[in-house]
C-alpha cells in the first residue's frame, strides 16, 4: 500500500507539472496581447510596454514558466489585470462556491446511483429497475442548463418550494465567516443551523441540475458491473453457503462491482468543478466558472492559470483518494501499484 501511495504521489506531481505546462502554453498560444487587452485600444504603446514588463511578459518563456510554478506553490497568485484584484481573494470567494456545489452534486449523484443500482439489480421489476434505467439514459442526453431551467420552473416558479436563481444565500443573510468558504460547512462549524438549512435550500436545485449527468453515468456503470458479477461463480457459491440474495448483493457483489465506479468518480468529480459554468449561470451562482470564462476571453492569465492548477490539484488529490480506497477494497490493486 505504501508503495502504491508513493508511486501515485510521484506520478501526481508529474501530472501536475504537465497540467501547468499545458495551461501555460495554451494561453500564450492564443492570439492577442494580454497587456493590450487590459489597457484597451487607446492606451499608448509605452503604457502597454510598461504593463508588459510589470506582468513579466517581456521575460523569456522559461523564466515565465518557472515564476508561474514558483508563485503558485508559494501562494503568490498574482493579480487579475482585468478586475484589478488579487487572484487569491477573487478565487478565495469563488472557488469554494464551485467546490461546494460540485461536492453536493457529486454526493447526490453517487449515493442515488449506488442505491438505485443495488435496488434494481436486486429486484429486477419494471419500476425498481426500469425507471432508474430510463432515467440513466435520459441523464446522459439532457443538457445540464436545460435541466437546470426546468428545475427552476418547476421548483421555483410553479411550486415555490425552492428559492429562485439568487445565488448561495438571500441578500438578507450574512454568509458565515469560516475557514472553508463553503457555507454549509462553515455554518455547521459555527453551530448556525438556520444558515445551514438556508444554504442547503439554495444548493439543492443547482446541485440536482449539475448531478444528473454524473448520476446517469455512475448508475449505468454500477448497474452493468453488478449484472456482470452476479453471473460470477462466487455469487452462486455465496448463495450455496446459505446467504440470502440481498446479503450476497451487498456484501459480495457490491465490493466486486464498485471499483470502476470509484475510478470514474475521481474523473467525474474533477469534471464537475470545471464544467459547472452553465449551471452557475442559470442559478446566478457566484462560482469560479463564470470568473474563469471571463478570464479566458480577456487573456487574464493569472486567474486562468491558477484556476487550472487548483483544479489539477483537487483532481489529483481526489484520484489519489480513489486509488487508496480502491486498493483497500481490492488487494490486487495495492500490489499492482509499483
Amino acid at each position: 500500500m505504501t508503495s502504491l501511495i508513493l508511486s501515485r504521489l510521484v506520478s501526481s506531481f508529474i501530472a501536475l507539472l504537465g497540467a501547468a505546462l499545458v495551461a501555460f502554453v495554451a494561453l500564450r498560444l492564443a492570439p492577442g496581447d494580454a497587456a493590450r487587452l487590459t489597457l484597451g485600444a487607446f492606451a499608448t504603446d509605452e503604457a502597454v510596454a510598461a504593463l508588459r514588463s510589470e506582468m513579466g511578459l517581456d521575460q523569456s518563456i522559461l523564466t515565465q514558466f518557472y515564476v508561474y510554478i514558483r508563485d503558485f506553490f508559494t501562494g503568490d497568485w498574482g493579480r487579475s489585470y482585468a478586475l484589478g484584484e488579487p487572484v487569491r481573494s477573487l478565487l478565495g470567494q469563488r472557488f469554494p462556491a464551485t467546490l461546494e456545489l460540485g461536492l453536493y452534486a457529486f454526493c447526490m449523484a453517487f449515493v442515488s446511483a449506488l442505491v438505485l443500482a443495488l435496488w434494481g439489480a436486486h429486484r429486477k421489476g419494471p419500476i425498481s429497475d426500469g425507471v432508474p434505467k430510463a432515467l440513466g439514459v435520459l441523464a446522459l442526453g439532457v443538457p445540464q442548463f436545460w435541466f437546470g431551467l426546468v428545475l427552476l420552473i418547476v421548483g421555483f416558479e410553479m411550486t415555490g418550494l425552492f428559492p429562485g436563481p439568487a445565488g448561495r444565500l438571500p441578500a438578507t443573510v450574512t454568509p458565515p465567516a469560516g475557514p472553508t468558504g463553503m457555507y454549509t460547512v462553515d455554518a455547521l462549524l459555527h453551530g448556525d443551523l438556520k444558515t445551514f438549512a438556508t444554504a442547503l435550500h439554495h444548493l439543492f436545485l443547482p446541485a440536482l441540475a449539475l448531478g444528473l449527468l454524473p448520476f446517469g453515468f455512475l448508475y449505468r456503470l454500477l448497474r452493468a458491473n453488478l449484472e456482470d458479477v452476479s453471473g460470477a461463480p462466487f455469487a452462486l457459491v455465496a448463495r450455496a453457503h446459505g446467504q440470502s440474495r440481498l446479503r450476497v448483493m451487498v456484501a459480495t457483489l457490491l465490493p466486486n462491482a464498485i471499483i470502476p465506479m470509484l475510478t470514474a468518480s475521481g474523473l467525474i468529480f474533477g469534471q464537475l468543478l470545471a464544467g459547472s459554468v452553465l449551471v452557475e449561470r442559470v442559478y446566478n451562482w457566484p462560482g469560479a466558472g463564470m470568473l474563469v470564462t471571463q478570464g479566458v476571453l480577456q487573456q487574464d492569465y493569472a486567474v486562468v492559470q491558477v484556476f487550472i492548477l487548483l483544479s489539477a490539484v483537487i483532481y489529483i488529490v481526489t484520484n489519489l483518494i480513489v486509488d487508496i480506497v480502491a486498493a483497500s477494497i481490492d488487494p490486487r490493486l495495492a500490489k499492482g501499484g509499483a
Binding site: P233, F234, A240, T252, P255, N256, R332
Partner: protein, 277 residues
C-alpha cells in the same frame, strides 16, 4: 430407510430447451453417488436445481424432498436455511468460486454465520480454522488473512470443501470438483474429500464427466444423457448391467495397451436410432 434426498419427476427447462426431462432418483443417507454425463446431459442443472440455484428464467416442475421435506425453491429465505447448513456445495471453478476482493477467512466466516445465525465472530473464526485443518491446510490461522489469489488451485478447492462443510451439512453436492486441477492435485483433493465424507458419514453427489473419478470415491453411479437418467447402479456392477450408452462411454476412453488401435465411438456402439430417445 427413507431417502436423504428424493428427487421426484424433476423437470427443468430453459426457454425452448428442456434440460432435465422428468428424473426420479433417491439418495440414501451415507451413500456416495456419482452422476456422470457429457456436456448437455443436464448433470450440473440437476445439482443446482436441488439447491434452488437455477437462474430465474428456468422452469422447474416436480419435487425434491430433503430428509422427507419438500424444498421450496422459490422461497429464498427458506432455501437459505437449507443451503450450507443441510446441503453443502462445491463448485467446479476453484478460481471463480471465490470473490477476489475478500479474504479466505471472510468467505469461511460468512458461510459459518449464515448457517449459525447469532453465533459470535470468534466462534466463526474458530470453526474456519478447524475446517481448514480438516481439509489438511497447514498454518490455517494465518492463512485466513490471505486472499484467494494467494492460494494454489488445489488449495482453493480444499478451502471450498472446507467452506461447504462449515455449516455441518448432511449432504455434499460437488460439481466437477477436480476437473480444473492437475492429475496429482486431483488425487490429493479426492482423497481429502473421501476422508472428510467418511469421517462425517455424509451423503455425496459427485457430478462429473469422468467415470474414473467416480470409481475413486463413489459407491453408486447414475448416468445421464440428454436430460434423462438412463442408468443407476452400484459402481461395482457397472459392467454387468451397463446400458449401451454407459458401455460406449466406458469404451470410448483410451485404456492401456490400445496404442495403434482406433477407439470405438459412441455412434458405432449405440443401437440404431437410440440417440433419438
Amino acid at each position: 430407510m427413507s431417502g436423504l434426498l428424493d428427487i421426484k419427476n424433476l423437470e427443468v427447462g430453459f426457454g425452448a430447451v428442456t434440460a432435465i426431462k422428468g428424473i426420479s432418483l433417491s439418495l440414501y443417507r451415507g451413500t456416495r453417488m456419482g452422476i456422470v454425463g457429457e456436456s448437455g446431459s443436464g448433470k450440473s442443472t440437476l445439482g443446482l436445481a436441488t439447491l434452488g440455484l437455477l437462474p430465474d428464467f428456468a422452469r422447474c416442475s416436480g419435487e425434491v424432498l430433503f430428509d422427507g421435506t419438500a424444498l421450496h425453491w422459490d422461497n429464498d429465505m427458506a432455501m437459505a436455511g437449507v443451503r450450507g447448513s443441510r446441503i453443502g456445495f462445491v463448485h467446479q471453478d476453484p478460481m471463480g468460486a471465490f470473490s477476489p476482493v475478500h479474504t479466505i477467512g471472510t468467505h469461511l466466516t460468512r458461510a459459518y454465520l449464515s448457517a449459525h445465525p447469532g453465533a459470535s465472530k470468534a466462534d466463526a473464526t474458530k470453526a474456519a480454522v478447524d475446517r481448514l485443518d480438516e481439509v489438511e491446510i497447514t498454518d490455517a490461522k494465518s492463512r485466513l488473512r490471505h486472499y484467494p489469489h494467494e492460494y494454489s488451485g488445489g488449495m482453493r478447492q480444499r478451502v471450498m470443501i472446507a467452506a461447504a462443510l462449515i455449516g455441518n451439512p448432511e449432504l455434499l453436492i460437488a460439481d466437477e470438483p477436480t476437473t480444473a486441477l492437475d492429475v496429482t492435485t486431483q488425487a490429493a483433493v479426492l482423497r481429502v474429500m473421501n476422508d472428510v465424507i467418511e469421517a462425517r458419514g455424509m451423503g455425496l453427489i459427485l457430478i462429473t464427466h469422468d467415470l474414473g473419478v467416480v470409481a475413486e470415491i463413489c459407491s453408486e453411479v447414475a448416468v445421464m444423457y440428454h436430460g434423462e437418467l438412463i442408468q443407476h447402479v452400484p459402481v461395482d456392477q457397472i459392467h454387468e448391467k451397463a446400458h449401451p450408452y454407459t458401455e460406449a462411454l466406458l469404451k470410448a476412453r483410451p485404456r492401456p495397451g490400445m496404442r495403434g488401435e482406433r477407439l470405438p465411438t459412441i455412434a458405432e456402439l449405440l443401437p440404431e436410432g437410440w440417440s433419438d430417445v
